[in-house]
């Protein structure tokens, strides 16, 4: 870790959605029992996986593209301060106003103040992870401002009083029958004869949203990229609802994580190829909106950019962990993750679920505030293979596990039962004599399971194993004993 002589500022507690109220294993247990959720997730992730695989296979240079994406991100992070100042200068020069937010509270205050200054009591929102991360909707609501989500899936989540469970497909945990029920229950003026036909559901949302687009004075967005060279901001989306928000209202406020800056348009080119193929499995996304400051007579007359830290600088300080900031939020890792596919996103307790969430959330909050997340992986490596910017997520998970163990060691002089067991195992296994003696001792277990040749119950913590699986009965002779007898 690089010591800059300053305390590392993590995302503060009590605001936003980066921490769950349950540990991952406990939250996962609830999710695993939900058969509807399991079915919806299995269907949705396998569909996106297949689409992604097809369009990725079309590119003979896919591996080179990934390497380029990774290299651009690493180079950008190495001079992040310079790129951000360039971005600020260019946005300002073209009539935009740039604000710096150290954390979620500061960002929420800035946006709330900007909205209040317009006198508007209602804002329309483009789908954005950064504003979910900081809990902006709740902050606006506390200030008497209604924030209307306009992305179809975010609308479903908002009307359902729910939280997003996927970065790209926030309502992945809902099927169309459930969506119909939510619309009938929560959408004012909805046709009571609404069916669960996808087209009918989309038309209902369209009618509801169109009215709000036309009366909105203020829009709030995130940004997929900010091009430092020209001060241009980029939003990539599928529905066109984002485009409505970005062009119709008078005031546009964008909240962007500081890691989203790319130096040049040439860099952007690489990511605009990687992102749609990795996320929706499309060659190109339907809508790419780019705006550069204020263009008189065309689009918003007032443009603000809020640059959000919220634990990112602290993440950047870790020379390995900083790779998590390379993420372009495509969610390919979620769609291939066998853990995510079964538990869904809510079990992660953060707006960033899945493998990338398990390495990003603990770094933004400090690992002890999300200590169970780095362990929420079998380290199968499917995420690393799918990541368009080659983030070695399994290695980051293992690193965070070590940081958690070290933090526990520092916090308490009394070692945990696990730490004692691990130390004992390391002591035993670093000497062949001790190891052989331990193997002999484990043979005592042979008295159990004598009849069936398998063990069906073991004491804690191994009872977690035998709750669902038999354990092998220790053999009469270990391999080394056999070798010594036969060949020694």
């Amino acid at each position: 870790m690089t010591d800059l002589g300053m305390p590392l500022l993590r995302a503060p507690r009590g605001v936003g959605h980066l921490r769950g109220d349950k540990s991952f294993p406990a939250a996962a247990r609830d999710a695993l029992a939900d058969s509807q959720l399991r079915r919806n997730l299995g269907h949705a992730t396998s569909t996106i996986r297949a689409k992604r695989a097809t369009v990725v296979a079309e590119r003979a240079d896919w591996e080179q593209l990934r390497a380029a994406g990774s290299a651009i991100k690493a180079a950008t992070m190495a001079h992040l301060d310079e790129h951000l100042e360039r971005l600020e200068a260019e946005v300002t020069r073209r009539g935009g106003v740039v604000h710096w937010a150290r954390d979620a509270n500061e960002a929420n205050e800035i946006v709330t103040r900007l909205v209040a200054a317009t006198g508007s009591r209602e804002v329309v929102k483009v789908k954005s992870m950064a504003t979910q991360e900081i809990g902006l909707n709740e902050a606006l609501e506390a200030a008497g401002v209604t924030a209307q989500e306009t992305d179809l899936a975010e609308l479903i989540v908002q009307l359902g009083g729910d939280l997003p469970s996927h970065i790209l497909v926030p309502a992945i945990h809902r099927n169309r029958a459930e969506i119909r029920e939510i619309f009938l229950r929560e959408m004012p003026g909805v046709d009571p004869a609404l069916t669960d036909e996808p087209r009918r559901l989309a038309m209902a949302a369209r009618a509801y949203l169109r009215e709000r687009f036309l009366r909105a004075d203020v829009a709030i967005s995130g940004a997929n990229f900010g091009v430092a060279d020209t001060g241009s901001l980029v939003v990539v989306e599928s529905e066109g609802n984002g485009r409505m928000c970005l062009t119709l209202p008078r005031t546009l406020i964008t909240v962007m994580g500081i890691e989203k800056v790319v130096p040049t348009w040439q860099d952007l080119e690489v990511f605009l190829q990687l992102l749609p193929r990795s996320s929706t499995g499309e060659r190109m996304n339907p809508y790419t909106s780019v705006w550069t400051g204020v263009t008189p007579g065309d689009g918003p007359a007032e443009v603000h950019l809020v640059l959000l830290d919220n634990g990112r600088t602290a993440t950047l300080a870790d020379d390995v962990g900083r790779a998590a900031l390379h993420c372009i939020k495509c969610s390919a890792c979620l769609n291939v993750c066998p853990v995510y596919e079964r538990t869904g996103g809510h079990a992660y307790g953060s707006v960033y679920p899945g493998p990338i969430g398990a390495v990003l959330s603990p770094q933004l909050t400090g690992v002890e505030d999300n200590a169970s997340l780095p362990f929420a992986s079998s380290l199968c490596g499917a995420c690393f293979e799918a990541c368009p910017v080659r983030i070695d997520i399994p290695s980051l998970l293992v690193r965070l596990r070590s940081q958690h163990v070290e933090a526990r060691r520092e916090a308490s002089r009394v070692p945990s039962a696990e730490a004692v067991a691990m130390a004992a195992a390391a002591w035993t296994m670093s000497d062949p004599g001790r190891f052989a003696a331990a193997e002999k001792a484990s043979r005592l277990g042979r008295v159990f399971g004598r009849r069936s040749g398998r063990l069906t119950t073991l004491p804690p913590p191994l009872s977690a194993w035998t709750a669902g699986r038999d354990a092998p009965r220790p053999p009469a002779e270990t391999f080394r004993e056999w070798w010594a007898r036969e060949r020694g």
């Binding site: 399991r38 538990t343 190891f435 038999d470």
Partner: protein, 245 residues
């Protein structure tokens, strides 16, 4: 060729038949097998659970034990993955660059069983006979850390008497994941349930893999449900011959 066997702590203590099978197989192919008796464990469980500091002694011990050998084999993609991708890092994190360099040298000479057979010994038909219906689970670390590709399948396709059945969703993790199986037992078991459904859908008598750990997990589930389908290590199939039956 003289080949040192790193049997792995799990196979040594719980699945000695796997180690014996490697010995039988390599000797049948005309090679000399050495078993460095000082060997213990690669330390992967410690590293992956966050006990990197404790793993250092295990890494040093492993390097010292296997340093004298030119060719080393282990019947586990996961343990070879740890030797190849973790050992030098553990040493480097502890500030021991000399050990890291030695670990890298040992790692370069360490092969998973199917890699040794196909890449080093240049053999795909090992003369095995195994008259059963078998499906193969490729295991995550063999597939995505070592990139062994279809080497195990190429070996299995030459086994006489055996019907090799394609496993649906083969590249999906079985849910073992070391201490993950205990720390996140519910999620692990949910993953296992799907793996077992796929295994059972093939109608195989046995599911095979190149890792005793994944097989302990899949086999433990199949046994608990009395499915009548068993787990068998790749080495055991390849060691099996008409003479040995």
């Amino acid at each position: 060729m003289k080949i040192a066997l790193f049997v792995t702590c799990l196979s040594d203590a719980l699945f000695p038949e796997v180690g014996k099978a490697v010995v039988t197989l390599l000797e049948r192919l005309g090679h000399e097998v050495a078993f460095p008796a000082a060997q213990t464990c690669c330390g992967q469980m410690h590293v992956n659970t966050g006990y990197r500091r404790e793993a250092l002694g295990l890494v040093r011990h492993h390097v010292e034990t296997f340093e004298p050998y030119d060719v080393i084999v282990a019947p586990s993609g996961s343990c070879v993955g740890s030797v190849r991708h973790q050992h030098a890092d553990v040493a480097r994190a502890a500030g021991d660059d000399a050990l890291a360099a030695r670990a890298e040298a040992v790692a370069a000479r360490t092969h998973e069983l199917s890699e040794l057979l196909v890449d080093v010994l240049g053999v795909e038909d090992v003369g095995a006979y195994y008259p059963h219906r078998v499906t193969y689970h490729p295991t995550c670390h063999s597939l995505r850390m070592l990139h062994v590709g279809d080497k195990p399948l190429r070996l299995l396709r030459h086994v006489r008497g055996m019907t090799l059945l394609e496993l649906p969703g083969a590249d999906q993790c079985c849910g073992f994941g070391g201490t993950f199986a205990v720390k996140n037992a519910d999620t692990s078991t949910a993953m296992l349930a799907d793996k077992m459904s796929h295994v059972l859908s093939t109608g195989a008598e046995a599911v095979s893999a190149g890792d005793s750990s994944c097989l302990m997990h899949i086999g433990g589930g199949l046994s608990r449900l009395r499915t009548g389908t068993r787990a068998v290590h790749l080495a055991e199939i390849l060691a099996s011959s008409e003479a040995s039956r």
